[in-house]
């Protein structure tokens, strides 16, 4: 127990040291080039942004799109992953297609999505495309890895399909599933913000790009920091949950 606390403390100390070091390097380099805002200016922009209703609207827009992309992504990825994990036929037919599709840089599809899903829908679809695969792959591999004896047990006790799903399948894949979900949240952010860089009316991706074109580097960096912080916080929370679940 004590070694665990020690480890956690040392992890925390390490993170603080690293953050201080990074800030120092940031401070020094901001003095060297005007395109790099100082940490203080960035922090100021960060705080002021939250007093701006337009900015809050952008935050809300992006957050909503990410949430939708994340939920649709895990449901769709989970469903396809289940199909691949459970059906040999689905594996034969779908797997090469999916591997090929996963290799495509998804952002090239964006212009194709725009006329179909409009501006607000397309970035959700882009988020879904990014969030889909980690869930899909982890679920498919997890399901295939379930020991056959669990299914035999399920059959001998005459468990129904739903019972098998809830009491065998889901708990048996809980770890890969959580890993997939954790990756999906970060990738949903990537997909949505990437889409916003290209074309959108509202959203943090647009804020970043606009700040860049107006030369407001403190604004740009503070928004990027916000995105990183949000994705990082959720990932860490899920990662801790992952380690608790055994």
């Amino acid at each position: 127990m004590t070694t665990l606390t020690k480890l956690r403390q040392s992890q925390f100390v390490g993170a603080v040291v690293l953050a201080l070091l990074a800030s120092a390097i940031w401070q020094i380099s901001s003095g060297l080039s005007f395109v790099i805002p100082s940490p203080a200016a960035t922090a100021e922009a960060f705080v002021q942004n939250f007093a701006d209703p337009r900015y809050l609207r952008d935050v809300g827009e992006t957050a909503q799109a990410v949430a939708q992309a994340f939920i649709i992504g895990i449901l769709l990825g989970g469903a396809i992953g289940l199909l691949l994990g459970l059906s040999a036929a689905a594996r034969t037919w779908l797997e090469p297609l999916l591997i090929a599709f996963n290799g495509v840089p998804k952002i090239v599809l964006y212009p194709v999505l725009l006329p179909v899903f409009s501006l607000s829908g397309s970035k959700i679809v882009m988020g879904v495309l990014f969030a889909l695969f980690p869930v899909l792959i982890n679920v498919a591999v997890g399901v295939r890895g379930i020991p056959p004896v669990y299914w035999k047990l399920g059959r001998t006790v005459q468990a129904g399909k739903w019972q098998l799903f809830v009491h065998i399948l889901l708990p048996a894949i809980r770890l890969p599933l959580l890993t997939g979900v954790r990756l999906a949240i970060s990738l949903a952010v990537v997909g949505v913000v990437l889409a916003e860089f290209f074309a959108t009316r509202f959203g943090l991706g647009r804020v970043v790009l606009q700040a860049y074109s107006h030369g407001e580097y403190a604004q740009m960096v503070s928004t990027i920091l916000l995105l990183i912080l949000a994705a990082f916080t959720v990932s860490v929370l899920l990662w801790r949950l992952e380690r608790r679940v055994r």
Binding site: P148, Y150, K152, T156, Q158, H167
Partner: protein
């Protein structure tokens, strides 16, 4: 028609390279409330035969009747203990033992009472809240046994339940199974490749041959009902051991030659 009746059971597996005959015409009976073991070399069709009786695997031809009913699929009155570790790692001992009852829709209170009794029966009292990862292989097989016994099935099928365990644990758990059977008198069919284990536990032994799988010898074990591990040094035990060994040896030699010439 009490007990288990096997009527000319055949099982074959078709695969691209040909046909495997796993069970080739087994006609046998397990009398009600008796303890019968099947011994035979690995690959001779023991698990397949047990799977057919459990309703997990359809027979290619022939049929199985249990207590007068034709087997067409799994039945909660037929409990199965597998060779593989089948404890669910995300459930503690109590929850594992309750699993079969939970699937059967047994009420919470009844589940708790029956699980407690089954846990006590297999000697796991005090470990109710432990998770399988913290238990030894032998204890996990006790959990699986308790899960099967908790439903109080009339028939218990065991497929080499202790094969993965070390010799001492195996003998010890075998004695436990015999003790439990003396209390419950369920109809038990026990698969093993360990002759001593089969003799110690059973009232009758079926010797199965190497492919194609059928029963080549049926040996009644006329040892006293009250027996413990010390009986292995008795002359009668040795005679029985030799008899089973002779039947088996002929067969495993044939199996060995098959593999050698394959």
């Amino acid at each position: 028609m009490e007990g288990i009746h096997l009527n000319d059971v055949h099982v074959q597996f078709d695969h691209p390279s040909g046909i495997t005959i796993a069970v080739d015409g087994v006609t046998q009976q397990v009398p009600p409330r008796s303890f019968v073991s099947i011994v035979g070399p690995s690959g001779c069709g023991k698990s397949t035969l047990l799977a057919v009786i459990a309703g997990l695997q359809p027979a290619t031809s022939g049929s199985v009747d249990i207590n007068g009913r034709r087997v067409t699929g799994p039945d909660r009155d037929i409990g199965v203990v597998f060779q593989e570790d089948s404890t669910l790692p995300w459930r503690n001992v109590r929850e594992n033992v309750e699993f079969a009852m939970q699937m059967a829709g047994v009420s919470k209170g009844e589940r708790a009472a029956k699980a407690a009794a089954a846990i006590e029966l297999v000697g796991l009292k005090g470990f109710e809240n432990s998770y399988p990862a913290t238990l030894s292989g032998g204890m996990r097989q006790r959990v699986a046994l308790a899960r099967t016994l908790a439903l109080q099935p009339g028939v218990v099928l065991m497929d080499e339940p202790f094969a993965a365990l070390d010799q001492q644990t195996r003998i010890f758990l075998g004695a436990e199974v015999r003790r439990i059977w003396e209390q419950t008198h369920q109809t038990v069919l026990f698969v093993t490749h360990d002759i001593s284990e089969a003799i110690l536990l059973s009232q009758q032994i079926w010797v199965m041959s190497y492919r194609p799988g059928h029963v080549i010898d049926v040996i009644d074990i006329d040892l006293p009902d009250e027996r413990d591990a010390s009986i292995v040094s008795s002359p009668r035990f040795n005679e029985l051991h030799n008899r089973v060994w002779t039947s088996l040896q002929k067969e495993s030699m044939r199996g060995f030659q098959d593999v050698e010439t394959a």
